[in-house]
């Protein structure tokens, strides 16, 4: 097939149309306010497709074909852009997507919780049997505090105000959850290690404080924020294991597709978990270190927030409002 020769008439005829389309290309990122303008964009897109196909076959018009292709790509992106409705998307996420992800994650979550509890018991047993090993899991400062008969959390509010403490705690918790999730990229092994380490640390610290009769006070400290905080770390762990599983046993055509699909899905769950950790940080900054808050109140806060988390992740919280 012969390539057509450059046609000055054709170019002269089309040039004003392209300039017009180029002039409105900058506005395409914004929402179209009427059906007429959307139809105009569609017409422009079709005409650009025809012109680009022609220009690509014209000798000596490579620069213009590149320009047309760039313009065509801009129109293509505007037309294929998904609709944006933040309120509906957020509601769909909390009511349908997150509960569905949680249902699929349930068996993995059960294994992760088992690992966490198992390693907590292992840590507790190790320190109860060989107390000298506490130096492996706790800092010198923490050991000194406990040996003096006080918790490292005592008088925390005298040193740091609640607002700063909350921000410090919630950012730390979010980072730990994100690392636990991201470590799943190493075929899930990184996450397994993180969960086991956290469980081991928790068990060993409780066993250590038990030896000095401080375990009750430690429980009192963690009662309000602990249930949700530990649950969220286990959920992030389950998400990390599932991420690793997408590489070990891909459920799509390729490992890459499987990894991409699973990580985008699990990131939504992680975003909701991060919001829950913000609440945990506020409780840990304002309620947990305050000695005036009695234990029953801490139990009510801890249990209430945990039930709220269950309702949120199971979708019940928003299903109630469904018409």
């Amino acid at each position: 097939m012969n390539s057509p020769a450059p046609r000055g008439g054709w170019l002269a005829e089309r040039a004003p149309v392209w300039r017009g389309l180029s002039a409105v290309a900058g506005r395409l990122r914004r929402r179209q306010d009427s059906v007429q303008s959307a139809v105009k964009v569609l017409d422009g897109y079709r005409s650009l497709a025809r012109d680009l196909a022609t220009a690509r076959r014209l000798p000596g018009a490579a620069a213009m074909a590149r320009g047309l292709e760039s313009l065509y790509a801009t129109y293509h992106a505007a037309i294929t852009r998904p609709p944006r409705n933040l309120r509906a998307q957020a509601l769909g996420l909390l009511r349908d997507e997150v509960p569905a992800i949680m249902r699929r994650l349930r068996p993995t979550l059960a294994w992760v919780v088992l690992l966490f509890v198992g390693t907590a018991f292992a840590g507790g047993w190790l320190i109860a049997t060989y107390p000298a090993l506490i130096g492996l899991t706790a800092s010198e400062q923490m050991i000194d505090h406990v040996e003096r008969g006080e918790l490292w959390t005592d008088g925390l509010l005298n040193v740091t105000p609640s607002s700063v403490l909350s921000i410090d705690i919630l950012s730390n918790n979010i980072v730990v959850s994100v690392i636990t999730f991201c470590a799943g990229i190493f075929y899930g092994l990184g996450t397994v290690y993180m969960i086991a380490l956290n469980g081991f640390l928790l068990g060993s610290v409780f066993a250590f404080t038990h030896q000095y009769g401080l375990d009750g006070r430690l429980l009192r400290f963690v009662m309000a924020h602990g249930p949700v905080e530990l649950s969220v770390i286990c959920i992030a762990g389950a998400a990390g294991v599932a991420l690793g599983d997408s590489l070990v046993r891909p459920d799509r055509a390729t490992r890459r597709e499987s990894f991409e699909h699973r990580s985008r899905e699990l990131a939504k769950l992680l975003a909701v978990c991060a919001l829950l950790l913000v609440g945990c940080g506020l409780i840990e900054g304002y309620v947990s270190p305050d000695p005036r808050v009695p234990m029953p109140v801490r139990v009510v806060i801890g249990l209430g927030y945990w039930l709220f988390m269950l309702a949120l992740l199971s979708g019940r919280l928003f299903r109630l409002r469904r018409p």
């Binding site: 320009g67 313009l71 975003a271």
Partner: protein, 244 residues
């Protein structure tokens, strides 16, 4: 994917080929962005200290330390760590560094990435930056066909070369002093490919074109003009200025 291009199929049957940015462009954009965010965060840190305490140091009192943490350290950290995410969301996959390096982020279907995709891409910087200086990310960009790091793999994003300047070929069509659009297209093409052609070939082509476009110029005057002058004459005509 086709070679170093991201080929996007469209409903019209005319495909779009976006050139994929290599590790060099990616690293260049990152280094520029790193300087921007470090400078902005550092400026906030210094300005905050000076405004709060009147000096570039934190007083030893605990309450001053708390004020420093809340009003200076926290916002500076937020600037440093959320720089990419916030700017990529605000400017459709572009940051100042990407703009300067001439690259932009798109999804594999050529669209602007969604908020969720940008969040996951930036979360996985944690892995890409391991063990230091983005070694994992760099290995990934060298070893993947689409030159992407792990964050991009997870988010389904690709860094492509921004071809905004290509649009100027269309805008030039109306502004040029060259009456025949086909010849204007040829002249534009020659100027665009100038550096990729040999000196002998580009000067010969430029003289041939200018004989048609610039009848006022004698054959002798064109013969004595060097490559730079010929290119300048072509650019002058393309910009719309009449031949002197």
């Amino acid at each position: 994917m086709d070679g170093d291009q991201l080929v996007i199929s469209s409903a019209t049957g005319v495909d779009i080929a976006l050139p994929i940015a290599g590790p060099g462009s990616r690293a260049y954009a990152f280094v520029i962005d790193w300087h921007f965010r470090a400078l902005i965060a550092g400026a906030w840190l210094l300005a905050g200290m000076f405004i709060l305490f009147g000096a570039f140091k934190v007083p030893p009192e605990p309450e001053q330390g708390n004020r420093f943490a809340l009003w200076v350290l926290l916002p500076a950290s937020a600037i440093y760590f959320l720089y990419h995410l916030v700017l990529e969301c605000a400017f459709g996959g572009r940051t100042p560094g990407k703009r300067i390096a001439g690259v932009r982020l798109v999804t594999r279907s050529g669209d602007t990435p969604s908020l969720g995709a940008l969040v996951i891409r930036n979360l996985l910087r944690l892995i890409d930056s391991l063990p230091a200086f983005y070694v994992v990310g760099l290995i990934a960009t060298f070893s993947t066909r689409e030159r992407v790091r792990i964050g991009d793999l997870a988010a389904g994003t690709v860094l492509v070369l921004d071809q905004r300047e290509a649009l100027s070929a269309i805008d030039q069509l109306g502004a040029t002093a060259i009456a025949d659009p086909a010849t204007a297209a040829l002249a534009g093409d020659l100027v665009a490919r100038w550096s990729s052609l040999s000196d002998e070939r580009r000067t010969r082509l430029a003289r041939q074109l200018l004989r048609h476009l610039d009848p006022g110029a004698s054959a002798l005057s064109l013969e004595v003009m060097n490559g730079t002058a010929l290119k300048e004459r072509l650019e002058t005509l393309l910009r719309g200025a009449a031949a002197p």
